[in-house]
Amino acid sequence: MVLAAIQSRVRSSTAYRQLSDQVRYTRQGISDNVPTIPGLPYAYISPFFILFGVFLLFPTLYTLYLSFFNYVGVSNDILLQIQAGPLTVSIPAIANLEFVGLSHYERLIFRDSLFHTSLFNTSFIFLVQVPLMVGLGLATALVLDSKFIRAKGLFRTLIALPVATGLVAYSTIFLLLFNDQVGLINYALVQLGLSPVAWLGSAWGARITLVIAVTWRWLGYNMIILLAGLQTVPQQLYEAAEIDGASRWQKFRYVTLPQLRPVLLFVVVSSTIGTFQIFSEPYVITGGGPSNATITIVQYIYNQAFLQLNLGYASAVSVILVLIVSAMSIVQIHYGGDQDA
């Protein structure tokens, strides 16, 4: 739906129209493109689909399956034996499992307080970080889109620089910056006559540190998308608004915002999905602490699955995470989408 909105925007651009006209004209009078070798398209797509099936499709379904089981251990059983003439292919069972029905879900929803903590922490980061970052990104993009700004390219490059930093790499920088004892941030606070903050030593300090770090990393990314969106707003609309004597705010409110809506929605939805999947930052910067104050859902999945080997239980958490993210996206698209259409 979001993609469709962006596609329709792309389609309405003149460059695209010219290109598609060109394609349409050249198509006329030419026989339908039938491959000379039958089955050739399947040869082109099958390598993709083999890997896709084994490494993406099967695991997705298996996670759902696994969430109804307890993982007991690695299995030596044979799941399936295929006889093809002299050739025997045996596919081993993936794991020894014990069926538990819905009990993982029941425990997660009603009794697992650490899961609830991780849900709260992730929601807090989402509620503060996404509006902060989208707001800042929009403000930056609007300013940068103004006609009078010089050296736009330079500003854009500098602000987008964090896009090129790896997730763990930038997290280590924030680990140092917000260090309670030797960090630059606390030094700056003291220089300004304020008292140092226990950034990583207190629950709220650690949560806010994560919000600041994630905002730093993704601001430029979202700015680039919003800037591209702003550049597709037809200039005539602004000119018409100016003739009508619209103020700067009115132009923003009644021209820019409605025109930018699909792009803004895309940014909000993808940022929401991103924050609900946050893992590297809490893993490196806070370690989920202090005392689980910043443990996120994905971190909880990792701990359950790979530190405690509760693979079935962790699968149930994964399924719930997907449900939450999908529900959030659907709600956002429903309330933010096609109202102006």
Binding site: T60, L177, L219
Partner: protein, 278 residues
């Protein structure tokens, strides 16, 4: 009128100030990385802290290399990211070409099926992939990290979108000239797709270069660590050597900065053509 002009001037001034503040906030962490990577460990605890870069980068690098074999991790990261990008480009461009330029049964359902999987988060796959790799004995191997996301749904989507713009007449005239069907793909389609391929390879490479959760699960032998794993290892040590960590971080981000600054238009094209976050 004069009042309006003054307001306009004030507005412009404010806009520049706002941009400057954002730029400074963005650059401070990166500047601090340079400072921390180039001063001796002992100076971290001096008060006031040192604010100007030193000349100790190489000494810190040697200490890092003695602590963990970081060069080896860089090698692992390069091998994995390059092989992954190359494989994924081949798979996605071939399949994308078929979806854009041929008619075949189940074409539409197959394509929309792939699109639907774009929304599947990586966390949903990690546990089964781990079990699978344990079962076939592939843990601690390059292949285990390279293969799973090589069939990239975003990649096939981008390739199909862009290849639809290749004029049929171009393919038709090549057929007239006796080109085989496979030559149409690699002699006609691929060369005209270079900008899109560049944008896609940047997305793919960067995703693999910074991938953390999945490699963390699959690669447990320090000899196989990629850069993010080695960094996390340094952070998790009993005693945290910030000088070494910052040297390692500077080595991790500098190549990507160079790519970003020299190939910015492809970078931005990649960001705009889809957002994939791992």
């Amino acid at each position: 009128m004069r009042e309006e002009e003054r307001n306009e001037a004030l507005w412009r001034f404010g806009a520049y100030i706002f941009l400057m503040v954002i730029v400074v906030l963005v650059l401070i962490p990166l500047y601090w990385m340079i400072v921390a990577a180039t001063i001796p460990q002992s100076e971290f605890f001096s008060w006031p802290p040192r604010l100007i870069p030193g000349l100790q980068w190489f000494d810190n690098f040697q200490a890092l290399q003695e602590n963990v074999d970081f060069l080896n991790s860089i090698g692992n990261s390069i091998i994995i990211a390059v092989a992954y990008t190359a494989l994924s480009l081949v798979l996605c461009s071939m399949a994308g070409f078929a979806f854009a330029k041929y008619e075949f049964r189940f074409k539409e359902p197959l394509f929309y099926f792939i699109l639907a999987t774009l929304v599947l988060p990586i966390q949903l796959l990690i546990i089964p992939l781990f079990l699978l790799m344990v079962q076939i004995g592939w843990t601690n191997s390059y292949l285990a990290v390279i293969l799973p996301w090589a069939a990239n749904p975003l990649g096939i989507f981008l390739m199909r979108q862009n290849m639809q713009a290749i004029p049929e007449s171009l393919l038709e005239s090549a057929r007239m000239d006796g080109a085989t069907e496979f030559q149409l793909y690699y002699k006609i389609a691929l060369p005209t797709m270079l900008p899109s391929l560049a944008a896609l390879s940047i997305i793919l490479f960067l995703n693999q270069w910074q991938a953390f959760l999945y490699p963390l699960v699959i690669l447990q032998d320090p000899q196989m660590y990629t850069i993010p794993l080695a960094l996390a290892e340094l952070v998790g040590q009993q005693r945290v050597y910030f000088d070494q960590i910052m040297v390692a971080t500077s080595l991790a981000v500098t190549p990507i900065f160079v790519v970003f600054l020299t190939m910015q238009q492809y970078f931005i094209k990649g960001i705009l053509s889809g957002s994939v976050k791992q």
